[in-house]
């Protein structure tokens, strides 16, 4: 048995397109893994780099604020850094991490005006999409499967060996199985080995690595099945190749683009702009509304400060923070609707992924790598939570009219890296 496997291996490697295709696959896989690791290393570096800068910024503010010890100034001027560290598998599927900010500074004022800030990135470079391992798998691997399998039978037929093969093989099915196994096995190895090495080096969990691998195998099996099905019609190698490449075009480029078009048209999300406009009216209207009205509404959300004294006129930080928070509360319905719209878009994409293999692979890989829209929203949730902690922290000084000393700056809630 092993002799026949070895024999097939020799035949396979002697094929003109076999070795170059495998080498190219391995090369692209290595390059994409390397590029992805470099990008993620850059992101880690950036997160590390901002820490001392941030600390120096806070120290400079602490220096002058602590002279008067006004907690209002501390809350107004101090920004707090948050960041979303890449997951161990992010290198393989960078996803939205190049267009959505993974570091964001917030202060204890109205959050909705701060939460949707974008990063300075070169949009022309982001436009074509990243060259990462998920890209190599989703777009290029199917082409390599096609190169290796489009003439599996038609090639033999065209070379006039088909009859001979059928007559000589004890078990014809086993013969084709061996040939397919070698081709697929080598291709998988070329793709997966660089990924696996990098994944282990990055400290990814075994379960996630296993799922990545399973998805990869399933995706290549789909393309193998398609190749075999097209090849079973008895067409020429050329027709097989053209038909398969056309299928690839439809499945990986055209249908996903159409799906995107349909989803974005069916679920418009305009609430982002609406909510910022709304929040700003509410916050700045705060200066003009009767103070008692503002405080009443605020105390409903924060009854613990119900008994604090508010001056009847003149500026007061308590009042200022009250209408800042009311701005967020006023924008909350739109913020919720906005988020629901984004989640609906994401859910429909996942549904598209159940019929379009390329989309399905992208959805699963980016979910596992935590680089998709959902992760962006989860990061926003964490920022919301953190912002709440910050507000409560500063409120305790402002509403208690406690002085804010230099040491108090260190007591501010820290961004939790969990």
């Amino acid at each position: 048995m092993t002799g026949m496997w070895r024999h097939e291996l020799r035949l396979f490697l002697r094929q003109r397109l076999a070795l170059p295709t495998l080498l190219l696959t391995a090369l692209l896989s290595i390059a994409s893994v390397w590029a992805g690791m470099a990008e993620i290393a850059r992101q880690h570096d950036t997160i590390a780099r901002i820490q001392p800068q941030q600390a120096a910024d806070v120290a400079a503010i602490a220096k002058w604020v602590s002279k008067e010890g006004d907690a209002g100034n501390a809350a107004y001027y101090t920004f707090h850094a948050t960041w979303d560290s890449p997951s161990p598998l992010a290198f393989a599927a960078i996803g939205q991490r190049d267009v959505a900010p993974y570091i964001l500074r917030v202060r204890a004022l109205g959050l909705e005006a701060q939460l949707y800030e974008s990063e300075n990135y070169n949009a022309e470079l982001a436009l074509p999409g990243r060259f990462d391992w998920a890209f190599v798998l989703t777009y290029l691997a199917p082409l390599f499967v096609i190169v290796l399998l489009h003439d599996l039978k038609s090639g033999e037929r065209e070379a006039g060996r088909m009859g001979l093969l059928a007559a000589m093989a004890r078990n014809e099915r086993a013969l084709w199985r061996r040939r397919i196994a070698w081709r697929l096995g080598f291709l998988l190895a070329a793709l997966l080995v660089p990924f696996l090495i990098a994944a282990v080096l990055s400290g990814a969990g075994a379960l996630n690595i296993a799922l990545f691998t399973l998805v990869t195998i399933a995706y290549l099996l789909f393309w193998t099945a398609l190749c075999l099905w097209i090849g079973s019609h008895g067409w020429s190698s050329v027709t097989n190749a053209a038909t398969l490449a056309a299928s690839w075009l439809v499945l990986t480029l055209i249908l996903p683009a159409l799906a995107n078009l349909a989803i974005n048209a069916a679920i418009p999300v305009r609430q982002g702009v609406e909510l910022t406009l709304e929040q700003r009216e509410k916050i700045h209207g705060g200066w003009d509304r009767p103070r008692a009205e503002t405080m009443q509404a605020f105390f409903k959300a924060h009854p613990e400060w119900r008994d604090t004294e508010i001056p009847a006129d003149g500026f007061s930080w308590k009042w200022y923070h009250a209408f800042q928070h009311l701005g967020d509360l006023a924008a909350a319905p739109q913020a919720k609707a906005y988020r629901a719209g984004l989640e609906a878009r994401d859910d429909w994409s996942a549904r598209a992924g159940t019929v379009l293999p390329a989309v399905g692979v992208q959805v699963v890989l980016h979910r596992l790598a935590q680089t998709d829209l959902k992760e962006g929203l989860a990061y926003q949730d964490r920022v919301r939570e953190y912002h709440e902690q910050l507000r409560r922290f500063y409120y305790s000084y402002i509403f208690n009219e406690a002085p804010f000393k230099e040491t108090d700056f260190e007591k501010a809630p820290k961004w939790n890296v969990g």
């Binding site: 002058w64 005006a113 074509p128 999409g129 990243r130 053209a242 995107n260 989803i263 994409s349 390329a358």
Partner: protein
Amino acid sequence: MNAIRLIAADEWRLMRRNRVAMLGLAMLLALSTIAALTSIAQRDNSDAIRARFQAQADQAFDGAPARHPHRMVHYGHFVFRPLPALAAFDSGVDSFTGNTIYLEGHRQNSANFGDVRQSSLLVRFGQLTPAFVLQALAPLILIFIGFGIVARERERGTIRQLFAHGVTIRRLLIGKTLGLGGIAALMLAPAALALGWLVAAESAPLMPSLMLLGGYAAYLAIWVLLIIIASSLAAHARTALMALIGIWALTVILLPRIAPDVALATNPTLTRLETDIAIQEDLRRMGDSHNPEDPFFTAFKERTLKQYGVEKIEDLPLNYGGLLAVEGEKLTSKLFDDYADRQFAAQRAQSGLKDAVGLISPTIALRRLSMSASGTDLEGHRRFLAQAEAYRFAIVQQLNQLQATKVTYSDDRNRNKDPEAAKRVRIDPENWKAVPDFRYQAPSSAEKIRTALPGLLILLGWLAVLGLGMRLAARRLEATA
């Protein structure tokens, strides 16, 4: 001449019988039409929404109640980037850049709500616009239709019959080129119609539209020549097919993704957060407005007092608080401009590096041409950012001037103690109406053409090189046929 026409006509006759070719062509034309229709509708819709939001923001600003001018500085303004008509042809980076900025005093906010962050990962598969169809899909369909155009004749030996009938190799290749070129022209038709519609009905600028048409025609011509050459040089039709798909995957899919990685690695830029911190630090170094003995602000005070020939701030004919606000805004705005310039320069260097890869990938060169002529390139977004910042500075200073002239120094100082002063510092809301609205100045046609030109030159260079390649192919064909 007659033989050439016959060969081209024969090619079309064959293609009509080739079901795969016809299917591919029909699919491309259908997609092109769908892309054009949806893209035009989407552009109109987005632009209308932005115009509506802009009107809403203008109205909110003009209708603001009586306030202290500094309240209005913080109330700020929203500006929206209009979407040029040709974005319906190539939406470029529009979905990747935010289209609205919140403008306020002392701060420079980012452009937010770009579509890419509001979409799932699907958006990274490419957006279906006429530009995308022609850039990525048309070449592949041309390959499917044409890979065997010469190789097939050679495989079957029919090429020798043609020569026997006195057809020269030159005429054969020209005829084949015309045949495949005719198909390419047909592929271009829906996009050309869409461009015509945009020019006629949506007042898209004519010259950039013609440049787009010329650029895409040159791009498809490049692929026609590549296909003819590969089909002439390859020993078998299948080899030609494989080689052409390889070239397509490399130049259309792979290189445009690898080029940005190289550009990013060689020209790193500061993140927003770092820029923010750096600006704050520079500001502290220049002058600390929170420190009453700060040399910068003391010097400013001395200067101002001297200018008006008075001894005390209270004696100034203008509100010192307003003058200080004007001076402070000058400082911050200068820093914003400096950092933005540096950021823009780094981004231009990145884009330049990426464009250089266009020398080996016509698709990258075409994208430069296409986005720039359509007005949807990063340069267009930078224009918007720069104009928004200039507008921010102008309105903030106008409001600061109002504080200096319409609010007295003593009222300003006592507004928190004296309810009457608090009333007086809220100036007439008619003043807000006098603040001009934001009007985005789109680049002129000449500017668009100038930025698009390098792309066109690279494409023409490719055509010239492939013209030489045709000669080589003819010679090879002569030797082997």
